[in-house]
Amino acid sequence: MLKAHEGAEVDIIDRLPTPFGLVRSGVAPDHPETKIVINQFSRVAHNERCSFFGNVSLGSSISLSELRQFYHVVVLAYGAESDRALGIPGEDLNGVHSAREFVWWYNGHPDFSNLAPDLKSTDTAIVLGQGNVALDVARILLKPPTELAITDIASHALAALKESSIRKVYLVGRRGPVQAACTAKELREILAIKDLYVNIKETDLLKTSADEEEMKTNRIRRRVFELLSKASSSSASRPSPGQRELHFTFFQKPEKFLESNDQSGHIGGVNFEKTILKGSASSGNQIAAGTGEYEDLECGLVLKSIGYKSVPVDGLPFDHSKGVVPNIRGRVLSSSRFAQPEGGLYVCGWLKRGPTGIIGTNLYDAEETVASISDDIEKRERISTSTKQGREGLLQLLESRKIQVITFSDWEKIDSEEKRRGSLIRKPREKLTTWKDLLEVATR
C-alpha cells in the first residue's frame, strides 16, 4: 500500500500489544527460520508513513463505523481467531482442547497463558486432523524438552512439557494418506525425531485409482505419500520399551468423546467410526463416508486440529457458512440482496480466503486487495475524496476513552526485554505472557 501510493499513510491496528499475528503466536517455537519474515514486517512499521497501534480492539476500543469515518480505506485483515467445532457429544469434557488454544498456550499468547492443559494424568494424546498444525502440536508433545529449552517457547509450557507423561500421540484423519493435509517439510521433520517409533498401517497405504488421479497433478500429495510409505516400511514391528510413539491413523471419523472412568468430567477416550472414501477426483475431492463400524481409542488429552474459523464483527458483512467476509477481489460486498461493494472497505488474508495457506500465500492475496484499492482510487469509485482525520482522529478518540495505545517503539521495549531475559537462559527470547507484564514493559 505504501509503495503503490506515495502520499498514503497507513495505520495498523492490533488487539494485542505485540505485532506480527500468527508469526509470533502460531509459528512453532522450533521453527525460528519461519519467523525471519518479522524483519521485513519491522521495516514496514519503521516507514515514516506507517504506524502501529497495539492494544486497540476493533469492537471494544473502537467500532468499524468510527474507523470508516476517520479513514478513506479500511482493510480488515484480522484472520481467524476461532475454531471449527465438531459438534459431537462430549466436546466440552476437560482435556479436550482446540489445537489453536494449545499452540497459543505454548507460544505465550496472553489470552491462554492460564490454559494449564493436563499433561500428567495420561500417556496418550489424540490429535484430530493431519494438517501442519496437527503435526506441530504432536511434535511439541513428543520432542525431548531439552531440545525445546533453547527455543522461544513460553516458560510455563516448557515447565509443563518437562513433567509431561505423554508418550503416545495419535494423528487421526477421516480420510487416507493421499488426502493428508500436511506438507513434506513438516512431515519429514516429525519423522526425524530421535528414537521415535512411527506406526503407519500398510493396508492404509493401498491406493485406489481415484487416489492415483488425485496425486497425478498434485506434487505436494505425491511427496507426502512417498514420505508416509517410506516411514511405514522402514519402521520396526513394535516399539521398544519406553520409546515414544507416533501413530498415523487413517479412515477414522470421531463420533463422540468418552468420559474417563477414573476422572469424572475428564476425557477418557474417543469413539470413532471407520470410513471409506466416496466420490472421484474428477468430481472434486473424495469424501469420507461412514461404514457403521466403530472402535474406541483411549486417551487423556484430545487436541482438535480441524481448522480455524473467523469471528464476525459489528457492521461487517459476514458469510456464516463459509466463515469469511463476502468479497470480490478484496472489495467487501454488502449484505443486501444485491451485494454491492461497500465503500472504502476491503478485506485481506484468511478473513478473505478462509484459513488456509502459508505466510507467503498472503503476499499474493495482499497484492490483489491493494490492486482493487488502487483501481478504486484511480477511478474515484467507492472511496471518499473528502479530507479525513486519520491518525489524529483515531488517537484523540482512543485517548478520550482512556485506551493505552501501544506504538511500535513500545513493542520494541517488549522485544528488547524478552531478548534480554532470554539471553540469561540460552533462549532467543523469553516471552512476556500476561497482559499485565506486556503493558507494564511497553509503557516504561
Binding site: 500500500m1 505504501l2 509503495k3 521453527h31 527460520e33 519461519t34 525471519i36 519474515v37 524483519n39 521485513q40 514486517f41 521495516r43 514496514v44 519503521h46 516507514n47 506438507t183 513434506a184 517439510k185 519429514r188 497433478t217 506434487r219 505436494i220 511427496r223 502459508i358 505466510i359 507467503g360 500465500t361 498472503n362 503476499l363 499474493y364 495482499a366
Partner: protein, 180 residues
C-alpha cells in the same frame, strides 16, 4: 508483505548466504547470524564505514556472469559475481524478488523460473529441503528453483530467469510454464 524498503532488505542480507566474501554497504548494518550459514569467521572481517563499497578478503574470483531477470515490467540484465546467490544479486540490483526468510529455506517467495532447459540442467539438483519449499511455490514449473539456492558459476553465464509474476502476463520467447 510489502515489496519496498529494499534498502533494509539488502542490509539485512549481508552476503551471508553467498560464498563470496561479503560486500558491506555503508548504511544500516544489522548483522544477523543464522545457524548454519557458510561464512567462516576467519574469512569475514567486518568494517563499518561511511564510504562506498569495500570488497573484503582477497579473492581472484571477482569473475562475474551475466544474468537477465524477466518480470512483468520487462527485463533487466545484471552482472553477478561467481558465488553469489540470485536472491542476493536481485536485491543488490533493486530487482523485486521477495526473500521473506532471507535464504534459510523456510519459504518460497524467491521462486524463479529458469527459462532455458539447458541452463536448468546445469544447476545442481535441488535438495529435499528446497523441493519441500518449491512444493508451495505459486505457479511452479518444471524448471522452477528458489533464487536463494541458485549460485552463480561461470557455466551459467547468460542465465535467464523469469519471476513468476512475469509468467502470469505473457509467455516469454514462446516459453509456456506448465503447472507441475
Amino acid at each position: 508483505m510489502f515489496k519496498f524498503s529494499r534498502l533494509g532488505a539488502r542490509a539485512a542480507f549481508k552476503g551471508l548466504l553467498s560464498k563470496a566474501p561479503p560486500t558491506i554497504r555503508s548504511n544500516k548494518s544489522y548483522y544477523t547470524i543464522f545457524q548454519n550459514d557458510c561464512v567462516k569467521p576467519s574469512s569475514c572481517k567486518l568494517f563499518s564505514t561511511t564510504a562506498t563499497e569495500i570488497s573484503l578478503g582477497e579473492n581472484e574470483e571477482t569473475k562475474k556472469i551475466s544474468v537477465t531477470f524477466f518480470n512483468a515490467d520487462g527485463e533487466q540484465e545484471i552482472k553477478v559475481p561467481v558465488g553469489m546467490s540470485m536472491l542476493e544479486a536481485a536485491h543488490e540490483n533493486d530487482i523485486e524478488l521477495e526473500g521473506a526468510c532471507e535464504g534459510s529455506l523456510a519459504c518460497s517467495t524467491c521462486h524463479v523460473i529458469v527459462m532455458d532447459v539447458e541452463q536448468y540442467n546445469k544447476l545442481e539438483d535441488p535438495t529435499d529441503e528446497e523441493n519441500d519449499m518449491l512444493d508451495l511455490a505459486f505457479g511452479l514449473t518444471e524448471t522452477s528453483r528458489l533464487g536463494c539456492q541458485v549460485i552463480a558459476k561461470p557455466e551459467l553465464d547468460g542465465l535467464r530467469l523469469a519471476l513468476p509474476a512475469a509468467t502470469r502476463n505473457f509467455a516469454v520467447d514462446g516459453y509456456k510454464p506448465k503447472p507441475h
